[in-house]
């Protein structure tokens, strides 16, 4: 017998899984009234997008790129040295990990020119569960970043 039904784990669901097992991160999901292509072409250009939507990042520079794997350096207003991230970047998926911080962005297209967007930030450690009280703090930070993304992408086009 062929053609068995097959389940999928889209990028937003992948990010949900990570958020469930990493106690020190906050995840926020939102439906953006902006086409997926517009959202992802903006986000995938990390050097321009991240400083535009995240007030904690003054600049981001790509140091090395090997296919989907990048090394980037971010400069933050109150840190004297740049913070390096190992990055995995592909269509609809971006995961940035430094020693002290984790950022995840995922998007899937929705009908009607909309986008299901998920964003995660926090501490990239599995233990201890004592970190869980930090989740609301990181969710507030993430909410600010998503607001920054929607502002950077401008108002949605008028509907006919």
């Amino acid at each position: 017998m062929t053609d068995w039904p097959t389940a999928q784990l889209d990028p937003v669901r992948q990010l949900r899984v990570l958020a469930e097992v990493l106690p020190g991160v906050g995840l926020v999901e939102r439906v953006l009234d902006i086409p997926y292509e517009q959202v992802w072409s903006f986000l995938a250009d990390l050097e321009h997008s991240v400083p535009a939507f995240d007030p904690m990042v003054r600049s981001l520079r790509v140091l090395a790129r090997d296919g989907e794997h990048l090394t980037v350096a971010t400069r933050m207003p109150h840190l004297p040295i740049p913070l390096r991230f190992q990055v995995e970047l592909r269509d609809g998926w971006c995961l940035m990990r430094s020693r002290p911080y984790l950022v995840g962005m995922a998007a899937v297209p929705l009908p009607g020119g909309r986008t299901h967007y998920a964003h995660l930030e926090g501490l990239p450690v599995r233990r201890p569960p004592l970190l869980q009280p930090l989740r609301p703090l990181f969710r507030r930070i993430v909410t600010g970043d998503i607001n920054g993304i929607t502002r950077a992408l401008g108002p949605p086009p008028p509907r006919e």
């Binding site: 039904p5 389940a7 097992v21």
Partner: protein, 164 residues
Amino acid sequence: MGLQELVGAAQRGDPLAMAALLRALAPYVGRICGAIALADGDDAMQETMIQVLRHLRSLRDPAALQGWVRRIAVREALKLARARARQLPVDHVADQATDDQPGLRLELVDTLRQLSPDQRVVLVLRDLEGFTEAQAAALLGVETGTVKSRLHRARRAFRERWRP
């Protein structure tokens, strides 16, 4: 990075390794969850992956990964399929639209929907995973005779549906 190295790095809590492991396991878990949980397959797969990563440190032998993941996927898919079956009588389940499974042979999906979750799971283990009836019984924690009778009923449903 090989699968064993990936498991080791994910066990140590590296989020990049965890994400890579999710992708490596996705085709296999997707087949099991899709065939057992049908419309709830994506949810079953998500729950399976959460359980896999949450308990990965308990896996001592990375070579046993596939069998360990299979047990979790079967359990989670069966849990959602049983919950769905309790919510909807079988004839309603069979009447559901199949637009969420584009490209699939509708007869197959419809026939799977008419089986009980317990019949579907033995069919998946026997025909998709190549298990013997004894192996399926061991995984499900039931008697071999129970697996045989569920399999018999599942195959009879297919024969009746697809009789020329």
